[in-house]
Amino acid sequence: MFLAAAPLSELLSFGDKGYLDELMWGAFATLQISFLGYAFGCLLGLFGAIGKLSGSSFTKNILGGYTTLFRAIPELVLIMLIYYAGTNGLNQLLMSLGFEPIQINQLLAAVFVLGFVQGAYSTEVLRAAILAVPIGQVEAAKAYGMSSYQQFRRVVLPAMLPYAIPGLANLWLNITKDSALIAVIGSSELANVTRIAAGGSKLYLVFYLLAALIYLVISMVSDQFFAWLERRVRRGQPKLA
């Protein structure tokens, strides 16, 4: 039934013949891409949210277009568009400036692409969270004479986190799963490594189940972490129900 290239115990081992070490590195790459992309996305989202709330009408229109477009187009299409357009555009820019075209680092490209998609979602999450902060608290901070940075750092940021964490937790879970889409443009993260391992060993069922299990563990550990984080940012708030 199985036309396996080698015994299962050998394929599921570390070292030259086994694929387990490759899978582990793939999982590591997935976490790395997800984490960096997430950080980049949150940063974009923070500036996006502030821009949407207090920017000029020009900024607001641009950001509105960004969040609408990026949330209406499938992630896979966006990833391919940004990846090809981004790498190509950069090389054309370099060539027009008289430099040699460069091979763009796969990891950086993936981080950039995922972060850009993620930024559209986190803009909306953070915008809603900032709006949920009672305005009286911000006014009180102003009345104390805090600068706008101080208002943000000392009042708005800690007060909005309880509203933002559930949305941000969802976004983290999404980016760990969306990072699998990077496999379509080829990279060394978990989904692509699994495809190679499954194709090489012909043990499709075993390797895809194994990969699913690794993603599941990542999700479950993240769930626990965000539950803890939410309890922490909610400390001092009255308990609901």
């Binding site: 209406a72 299409v77 090809y84 990072s179 499954a198 895809y208 699913a212 599941l216």
Partner: protein, 229 residues
């Protein structure tokens, strides 16, 4: 920008749009129907139904759809050729086609996400209404069909548009298992003509238009259903 390829590939793109819509509608319908029992048993079922339903939802929600799709297409699909005589049976044309694996994978995925949503909706129906229905002497089945389910569906209606748009945005994954949906048509155009961006931009616009219509249709639908707040 080079759009010379477009007139030649219009039929392919229309067929691709058709397949995308079939993938979307069939997975939403099948997944939506599966979601009802999956949600329900998590609220009232015995442990031997509750546990598998919970595990199913966690698995679907905790793993990438791409892996689920490949698990079903390559993983389960790789088992079939081992069954003797299957290549000559009437099932083989179906088992060979990536499309049916995509429908299965997308339906299960939608069922997993919506099952969790339905669980919340079943819990959200006020207890008093169920007790009133029981007090009138309705059988458990009647309580479900006349009170619990309609009220729960009304509760999820506002979130459904978002979920269906999300499902639409997952359908392009089908092109990785040889389905010629919009994304698959784009891949064919790109490999025929070596034009990369224009087909991508073109289908991105189609997906946006579809998203717009889904959102509009659900706004309309929601206004049709009376609701006292």
């Amino acid at each position: 920008m080079n759009w010379e390829w477009l007139p030649h590939y219009i039929p392919l793109l229309i067929h691709g749009l058709y397949l995308t819509l079939v993938l979307l509608v069939s997975s939403v319908v099948i997944g939506g129907i599966l979601a009802v029992p999956i949600g329900l048993v998590q609220v009232t079922g015995p442990w031997y139904l509750k546990l598998p339903a919970k595990a199913f939802c966690s698995f679907i929600r905790g793993t990438p759809l791409l892996i689920q799709l490949w698990l079903i297409y390559y993983g389960i699909g790789s088992l079939f050729p081992g069954i003797p005589g299957i290549r000559t049976s009437f099932l083989w044309p179906i088992l060979r086609e990536g499309f049916y694996y995509a429908v299965l994978a997308f339906s299960l995925s939608f069922a997993g996400y919506e099952g969790e949503v339905m669980r919340g909706a079943f819990l959200g129906v006020p207890r008093g209404e169920l007790e009133a229905a029981r007090a009138i002497g309705m059988s458990p089945w009647k309580v479900l069909m006349r009170v619990w389910l309609p009220r729960a569906v009304r509760l999820v209606l506002p979130t459904l548009a978002g979920e269906i748009v999300g499902q639409l945005k997952s359908t392009p994954l089908a092109f990785t298992v040889t389905v010629m949906d919009l994304m698959g048509a784009r891949a064919k155009i790109s490999s025929d003509t070596y034009i990369m961006y224009e087909p991508l931009i073109f289908i991105a616009i189609i997906y946006m238009i579809l998203t717009f219509f889904i959102t509009r249709a659900f706004n309309y639908l929601e206004r049709l259903v009376p609701q006292r707040r």
